[in-house]
Structure formats: C-alpha cells, structure tokens
C-alpha cells in the first residue's frame, strides 16, 4: 500500500495536512489495516490531538492485536501525560512484540526507573537527595526523555528534577516532540525540495505512484513505492520508457497525429503516460482497483506539475 510510506514521508517532512489527507483516504480503502491506523495516530500526535491518536492506536490494536507500533505510541503518549503505570504496561507489551527494537527497551527501562524513583522518593526530599549516581545521562531514548519536559508533569516533582545530568542533557532537545521517537531513520526522506516527493500531494489517493522520466528513461522526479516500502521507480521507468519510442514510431505511419497518452492495464497496475518536455515522459501508476478515470485525471495534474518543475529546472 503506497499511501503508508507516502503518508509517513509527508508527515516527517512537516506536511501534516497533506499527510492527514493521504492517511484518511488510505483508510477509506483499507479500514481494517492496523498500519494505516498507526500512521493516522502519529499524524494526530503531530497535530497535538492526542485523544484522537489514542483512538486510532486503539483501532490498530483491535485490527491487529499486539501491534507493536500502536502499543509503542500509546506508551509514549501515556508517558507524556504522566500516566507512568499505563506507559510501562504498553511499552512492555510493545517490547515483547518487537524485541529487536533497542529504543523500546531503553524507553521501558527509563519508565521503570522513573516509576521506582517516584515510589521511593520522600515527598520532602530535595533534588540532591533524590539524585541517583547510576542514572545514565545520555543513553535515554529521546521521546521519553523529552516528553516530560514538554508538558512538565513528570518533571514537576523533586525526584525527577534531581536528575541534573540527565535533564541538562535533555534540555538541549526540549523542543522535540514525544512523537519524534517514532521517526528513526526519517532523515533519508530529505528536505522540502526532494524531487521524489514532487507529486506527493497530487497523487494523494491511495495506491498510486508518479514518475517523471528523462529521454533515457532515468527518473527525474517522483517515486514508485511498492508494498514492501522500496522505491522501484528506476526499474519501472527504465522498462516502460521504451513504449513511448514505439508509440512515436507508430504515429509516424498512422494518420492519427501525435500521441498524447498511453494507457495500459495489467494484473498489478493501471499505468498511464504522456510526453513531458525535452522528450521526457510522465507516468502515473495505480493499483488495478483504482478507477481508471481517476488515474487518467491524476496524469493531467502530474503532467502540469512536471512541466512547471522542468521549466524552473532549466
């Protein structure tokens, strides 16, 4: 499902509204997909709508019991809200479901330490009394470390404030949102000028991909993400660009004028393509269940965007 990596990419780029639209449309088509609910929940966290986020994670768990992403998200939100016992429970379940996630293990350790610290600290203790010399100041996972700083609840007691070294270290990241813990590895999506995301807002409908190819079949912009999350745009572009050469050749011998669009349907996709400036090619692909009229319409807007982008480029 293309909309999952697409929505995630948009979310991490900060295009929250577009990401929300992509996720909602994706969910319309896949209402029982736990990953889709998980994506929507993280978008809601970005928007500061934690109650809605919890609802979506709850839906994800109902779709797929033990869904690690949902449990992790609920754990972090609970931590953020100061509900340490709930946070510990969710994170423990998430860690059990996803034992390879080292970050989860560290977050869980951190929550348990915080619970133990709160339980053992006398109400009148001052900060120095509660300081534990074995507190690891730098190995704490970013989200649980920053989360209490952002809303102040867990750090408002003497025991938590006593973690001088740890909090001093965390304070440099105090602007980070608790949600950022989910965004490990997001850096590869690049900045706002990433040509791979040139058409992201135009093909917001689920299960679509768009590519701009040059005259040699090399990808200039766009991406073709398949269900495993890999971008196969280069392979698809190279293979399909030859069709336009064949069409051009055919049109020289038929009294039909220049070709404008090629549409073909396969068991895996509906593909539409049209010429782009400088002998390039614009291509939109969609899952077979996407109405073909919608795919053709998407090609028009993608083609216009590609034309403007190439004009700017040159």
């Amino acid at each position: 499902m293309v909309f999952l990596p697409l929505g995630e990419a948009l979310r991490t780029r900060g295009q929250i509204d577009v990401a929300l639209r992509v996720a909602l449309r994706g969910l319309e088509r896949h209402p029982y997909d736990a990953d889709a609910h998980d994506l929507l929940a993280r978008i809601y966290v970005d928007r500061g709508e934690t109650e809605r986020a919890l609802d979506e994670w709850d839906a994800a768990i109902r779709c797929t019991p033990g869904h690690a992403g949902a449990l992790k998200g609920m754990g972090f939100v609970c931590f953020n809200q100061g509900r340490l016992v709930d946070a510990e429970r969710y994170l423990a379940e998430a860690a059990a479901a996803s034992p390879e996630d080292d970050g989860l293990g560290m977050a869980l350790l951190r929550v348990r330490e915080r619970i133990a610290s709160e339980n053992s600290a006398p109400p009148s203790a001052n900060a120095h009394d509660a300081t534990r010399p074995d507190e690891p100041p730098t190995v704490i996972h970013e989200a649980p470390q920053d989360a209490p700083t952002s809303n102040g609840a867990p750090t408002g007691n003497g025991a938590a404030n006593a973690n001088g070294a740890a909090n001093a270290n965390g304070a440099t990241k105090s602007e980070a949102r608790a949600e950022s813990a989910f965004a490990e590895g997001d850096a590869h999506f690049g900045g706002s000028g990433d040509p791979r995301l040139l058409f992201a807002d135009l093909i917001g409908v689920a299960d679509q991909a768009a590519l701009l190819l040059d005259e040699d079949g090399l990808v200039l912009a766009g991406q073709y993400v398949v269900s495993d999350g890999n971008d196969v745009g280069a392979e698809v572009g190279a293979a399909l660009s030859g069709i336009s050469d064949e069409a051009r050749r055919a049109m020289r011998h038929l009294p039909l004028g220049d070709w404008r669009t090629i549409i073909f349907e396969t068991p895996a996709a509906t593909v539409v393509m049209t010429p782009a400036p400088q002998d390039g090619l614009v291509l939109v692909a969609a899952a077979p269940e996407v109405p073909s009229g919608l795919v053709r319409r998407a090609l028009e807007s993608v083609s216009q965007r590609a034309k403007r982008w190439m004009e700017q480029l040159s």
């Binding site: 399909l240 030859g242 055919a250 004028g257 220049d258 669009t261 090629i262 549409i263 349907e265 396969t266």
Partner: protein, 118 residues
C-alpha cells in the same frame, strides 16, 4: 477476408460502435492481419503491424517492470485512438476517431478478447 471466419461477428459488432473506424484481429508475434472489418480509409496491414509491435513492446516492458501481462492498451493521439486487448498471441485492435465513447468500447474490447479461441 473470409466470411466464415469466427472473428467476423465480433469484429462487425465492434466496428458498429460510434467512432470506430475499424477492428482487426492481429497476430502479436508477426504483426499480420488475421481478420479485419475496416473502413476503406484504414490501411489494415499497416495498422496491424504497428499495433502488434506496440502491444508486444508494452507487454515486454510491463513484464520487465514486474507488472505482469498487458490486458488492455490504449494509445490516445490527436486524431483518434488505437485500443488493443490481447489473449495469447492474438490481439484485437480498434482504430477510432475522436468521437468514440471509450468506456463502453473498452468493455466491449475486453469481452471480445476474452472470447477469442485459445
């Protein structure tokens, strides 16, 4: 063309659709006309050769891209369309002008292709 051809009724039906200038059954491998019902303005051998070549190229490209076989192919040009649907080595080709109702035609073409003898 032989009037006893099993393709003729289907091709005649397709050619009666609004905007259709001709319909052909073509061998994808060698691009020759197997049967055709076309208006005089349509050069069936030329259309057959080019359509077969285009369909073959699309099928090979789609296969190389991991998309599977091509069921339906449509080439839209300024002056009309070429619509194709294939089964095994046979491809049904329609030549149309710009007035064609492509939705209905696509359905009819896919139905005709599905009924082609194996």
């Amino acid at each position: 063309m032989s009037s006893s051809s099993p393709f003729i009724p289907s091709l005649e039906h397709l050619t009666r659709q609004r905007g259709v200038l001709g319909s052909l059954v073509v061998s994808e491998t060698d691009g020759i006309v197997i049967d055709a019902v076309v208006q005089p303005s349509v050069k069936a051998p030329v259309v057959a050769a080019l359509a077969a070549s285009l369909y073959r190229r699309a099928r090979q490209s789609a296969h190389a891209a991991g998309l599977g076989g091509v069921k339906y192919l449509e080439l839209v040009a300024d002056g009309g369309r070429l619509c194709m649907a294939g089964r095994d080595d046979l491809v049904v080709v329609l030549v149309t002008d710009t007035r064609v109702g492509v939705g209905l035609l696509r359905v009819e073409l896919l139905r005709t292709a599905a009924e082609l003898p194996e």
